[in-house]
Symmetry: C2
Subunit: 150 residues, 2 copies
DNA sequence: CCGTATCCGTACAGATACTG
DNA sequence: CAGTATCTGTACGGATACGG
């Protein structure tokens, strides 16, 4: 079962982008390109692993602690995906207790740089968005309270 | 059923980010912030709608054509979410045939700016990633051909 | 220590039909 | 024109147990 992808992260990535023809606005192409990135790094744990690995080589168990909340399975799966896409490098040390180190590739480092733009955006508008959500929920779901923390 | 979210896009956004305490690397906080953005805009159609609306007011049916491939349901759902987060503005014209126009908010416009960083990253490394995938599949799944179009 | 396999719940997404 | 509701498939993600 080297390839039978019936479960887990990964498999297809952005085939849908192939449906883009030139018949509509050029901005759509931009949207598609961004989608490619999100399909690759949009996973729940990808970013966490990437930032951890960007600070130097990390071992499997160390990642398990650093990411905190991730399961064995998800860690392996995301690791495999990232490695497959050339974002992570996997170095196996054939020692008696197995030792594997993951390192971010230059490409991943560049991605991390690009990510800070998004981070800044989120930082700036975090509260505004939260307010918008509350306002929307109050206006539209007036008969039904959101997140009743009792 | 104003709020019973059993299906479709949206609902929770980034509650998992609350689990972040200061006990591990500061980079993890960055990862979390990026996750917030992805949870909001990481949907399959969000970006497409956002870029379309960023070029001026668009109507429902126009979006259906522009995004191309999106279903009625997904369009409505994503629209609602984006509006809820304050990324889109919904203007209803009480005319005899209903007319609704969606406009990107300033916040969304800023996001679009941040998105170009990601776009450039994808453009630069698109081929490298594709090559990495092929190489990986060839090395690990040598006994099982990937995407056999035969 | 470093994974892999199986089971299972849920969130996301498409198709279709109906309404105001 | 602009939605909403229901059904259904699938992909993602968690828990757990087991193997090298």
């Amino acid at each position: 079962m080297s390839q039978g992808n019936s479960d887990g992260t990964g498999g297809r990535a952005s085939e849908a982008c192939g449906a883009v023809d030139g018949s509509f606005a050029p901005g759509q192409a931009t949207a598609c390109t961004v989608r490619e990135v999100l399909d690759r790094v949009g996973g729940k744990w990808s970013i966490g692993i990437l930032v951890a690995a960007s600070q130097g080589p990390v071992r499997f168990t160390e990642l398990e602690r650093r990411v905190e909340g991730i399961s064995r399975r998800m860690l392996t799966l995301t690791l495999r995906n990232l490695e497959r896409d050339g974002l992570l490098n996997r170095k196996v040390h054939p020692t008696v207790p197995p030792k594997v180190e993951y390192t971010a590739t230059p490409i991943a480092l560049e991605l991390h740089e690009s990510l800070v733009a998004l981070t800044h955006w989120a930082e700036r508008h975090r509260s505004a968005i939260a307010a918008a959500r509350t306002a929307y929920d109050r206006a539209h779901g007036g008969d039904l309270p959101p997140v009743p923390q009792g």
